[in-house]
């Protein structure tokens, strides 16, 4: 059933995202063209400045829009008229939730790939490809195992934190739908409340580590390099974020399974 849900959830989200991808690529190409013409006249130069501004905006829309559409999709599937279809399918709630997490992650990765392609178009279109490739090659040659570790951990951290934020939003919606009126407003209030708890949880957890072992940071400084310290800290944050997600997601599942409220 998860495969079938993924098929329809992905199709549904990409239907909304494809126009944004198309606009991103068009704005990128226009930015390249105007950048190459900007020396020819003041008009082109002004238009180029405007296009660069539009380009920054569209990149923000791309990432924020992807996140917003994922959350909206979850909200609609549990509170709107669509919920009458989704919640009468012979599918476990945890499968629906798993599909939402997976689709949100896949669409965010797809949006980042579009952003990366857009950067490449900018680099190639502005004729700096050769120097860019040389710089990247030098960087890759000088990278140590620790830096590779940092890069991998940063990627894992971004994915885990994104899943954590999604879990937090899903949990807020599952609380908000319990109310009979203004479910969106109550979801938003729940989000603020849970986010404060989320921040307190991180602060207390990190402080506890230092209280239990006051020599932790000193030991880190003495035994490992600065990048190594960052890697250890990132690993701790990844574990803490995973624990938080592992606690709130079953509660989300419980609320939607046993207290679904389509009044």
């Amino acid at each position: 059933m998860l495969k079938k849900l993924l098929k329809y959830d992905l199709k549904n989200l990409f239907k909304s995202l494809l126009p944004i991808y198309l606009v991103t690529l068009v704005v990128t190409i226009l930015t390249v063209i105007l950048n190459n013409l900007s020396n020819k006249s003041n008009l082109f130069s002004t238009l180029n400045a405007l296009m660069i501004f539009s380009y920054i905006i569209i990149l923000m829309v791309l990432l924020i829009g992807t996140f917003f559409l994922s959350i909206r999709d979850f909200y609609l599937d549990f509170t709107s008229e669509r919920a009458y279809l989704v919640n009468t399918l012979p599918v476990k709630k945890r499968t629906i939730i798993a599909s939402k997490f997976t689709t949100s992650l896949i669409t965010m990765i797809a949006s980042m790939v579009v952003m990366f392609i857009s950067f490449l178009i900018l680099i190639i279109g502005n004729g700096i490809w050769v120097s860019f490739a040389r710089e990247v090659s030098i960087l890759l040659n000088t990278m140590t195992g620790e830096i590779w570790g940092l890069l991998i951990l940063t990627t894992v951290l971004m994915i885990v934190m994104y899943i954590g934020i999604l879990a937090l939003c899903y949990f807020s919606i599952s609380l908000g739908q319990l109310k009979n009126t203004n479910k969106l407003g109550f979801s938003f209030l729940a989000f603020i409340g849970i986010y404060i708890i989320y921040e307190i949880y991180f602060t207390i957890s990190l402080s506890t580590i230092f209280v239990i072992d006051p020599n932790f940071i000193r030991a880190l400084d003495a035994t490992v390099t600065p990048i190594g310290s960052i890697n250890v800290l990132m690993t701790i944050i990844i574990v803490l974020s995973l624990i938080f997600t592992a606690i709130i997601t079953p509660i989300t599942n419980y609320l939607l399974k046993n207290h679904l409220n389509l009044e």
């Binding site: 329809y8 919640n87 009468t88 399918l89 009979n180």
Partner: protein, 231 residues
């Protein structure tokens, strides 16, 4: 054989008690009318049976199974709203139902869609309200379910479309199954109902076979309804 068992079910929205100790059974092969004025608790009861709401007390079983994933395989439900994704085409919706419901008869659905002269590649959002409702009904009635639950399928529809809907229900309704149909347009459905449940302010005030009611009261169900619920 009992198909649907509703035992002492109560439900409140805040301080407002919508259903109060509702108990009834539906046996196999019956067409049951759930009748009551607006706000009597019909839709809430239907939502509870479909696991879209949680009862405050009592229990609901379908074919002896407590409601959950397994009971959703047995029920084909038509809500009183446009619940399908408006961006999907008819063909996509047929495939959606085929993917999720093993009892969905896609051939039957295509045949019914063809009779309506609709293009399978037409998106739902481009259709009129009446056509959307017909498509929804076709999807629901093309399942070979054990229990069909239709919430106000003929409410707010012109008489010609009403006839089409009633005919579609009756000709595609699996005879081994039961049908629970909520309405306040009784005259259109009276002749096909085997049993009726009268719901008033969240309580069942009458639950009997239509023949028995007519015999006991010397009134049609429609007249009795008007009598019972007159303002």
């Amino acid at each position: 054989m009992t198909l649907l068992e509703v035992n002492h079910v109560s439900k409140s929205y805040g301080k407002n008690k919508v259903l109060d100790d509702v108990t009834f059974n539906i046996t196999k092969g019956k067409i049951v009318g759930l009748l009551g004025p607006n706000g009597s608790g019909k839709t809430t009861l239907i939502k509870l049976i479909n696991d879209l709401l949680k009862e405050d007390s009592g229990s609901i079983k379908i074919s002896g199974i407590t409601k959950g994933v397994e009971t959703k395989k047995l029920i084909s439900y038509l809500p009183d709203k446009n619940y399908l994704n408006q961006n999907m085409t008819i063909l996509e919706l047929l495939n959606y139902f085929k993917d999720f419901y093993s009892d969905f008869r896609i051939g039957k659905a295509k045949e019914l869609i063809k009779k309506l002269d609709l293009d399978l590649n037409q998106k739902l959002k481009t259709m009129s309200k009446g056509t959307k409702e017909k498509v929804q009904l076709i999807l629901v009635m093309s399942r070979k379910a054990k229990l069909y639950i239709l919430d106000e399928p003929i409410g707010g529809i012109d008489p010609a479309a009403r006839d089409y809907i009633i005919e579609t229900i009756l000709t595609n309704f699996n005879e081994d199954a039961s049908l629970l149909i909520s309405t306040h347009l009784i005259s259109d459905l009276e002749k096909v109902l085997d049993e009726v449940i009268f719901l008033k302010e969240g309580k069942i005030i009458r639950n009997s076979s239509t023949d028995l009611i007519r015999k006991e009261t010397n009134m049609s169900i429609n007249d009795l309804f008007r009598e019972e619920f007159k303002c």
